[in-house]
Symmetry: C2
Subunit: 117 residues, 2 copies
C-alpha cells in the first residue's frame, strides 16, 4: 500500500503559472501572508530543488501548506517537481524579478523585521 | 443639526503611522486589495490634498471606504486632514518610497493591468 499520507509525492504534477501572466494584485496577495513570506524566505536561503514541502518550519497543517504552495505557484513565485516520494521546490527568482522588479528584494531585505517593527 | 451623514468631516482627527514603523507584511497587506489599489492609483494621479474621501470611484459603502483609508493610513501610505466638512488626502509618496523602495512604482506601473493579465 503506497505511503500516501506520510509522503508528499505520487500526486498529479503541479500546475504552474508563468510570472509574465501574473497580475500585480495576484503577486501582492501571494506575498502578503506570513506563512507564505516564511516559505519564500526559507526558499531564498536554500539551493534550488533542495527543499521538500515538508521541510519548512511553518505552523500549518498539510492541507493548508498545500494551499499556500498552490498560491505561490499561481503567482509565479515557486516551481515544484516530484522526486520520488518528495515534492521539491525552487524559488523562481529571475523570472519573478523580471516581472516585478524589486519586489523579491523587499521581501528578503526585511527578513526578521515583520514582528519587530 | 450638523450634516454628519452627507459630510465626511467633524470626526476625530485621523491617526497616522509613520512609514518607518510599518512592517513589510503590513505594507503588502495594505496594497494587495483591489479597492485600496484603486485608491492609491487615483491618489497618485491627483495633486496632494485635492481629493476628498468621497471623490473616489470605488464600489464600496461609506463604512467600508473608511476602513480602507484606515488601513492605508496604518501602512504609512496615506495622510489625511479635515478641511471643513471634507477629509482630504495625499499619498505619502516620498516617505513610503524611502521605506519600501520600488513598491509604489510597481503598483502604479501596472495600472490597468490587474484584470487584463
Amino acid at each position: 500500500m503506497p505511503n500516501q499520507v506520510a509522503g508528499a509525492g505520487h500526486r498529479a504534477a503541479p500546475v504552474h503559472t508563468d510570472p509574465e501572466d501574473v497580475s500585480v494584485l495576484t503577486a501582492l496577495s501571494a506575498v502578503s501572508d506570513p506563512v507564505r513570506l516564511t516559505l519564500i524566505r526559507e526558499l531564498a536561503g536554500s539551493a534550488d530543488w533542495t527543499r521538500s514541502c515538508g521541510s519548512f518550519d511553518v505552523p500549518v497543517g498539510k492541507a493548508a501548506l498545500s494551499h499556500h504552495f498552490s498560491v505561490l505557484r499561481g503567482a509565479g513565485l515557486v516551481e515544484q517537481r516530484d522526486e520520488g516520494p518528495k515534492r521539491v521546490n525552487r524559488l523562481r527568482r529571475e523570472e519573478f524579478e523580471k516581472r516585478f522588479p524589486g519586489l523579491l528584494a523587499l521581501l528578503l531585505r526585511d527578513e526578521g523585521a515583520v514582528d519587530a517593527e
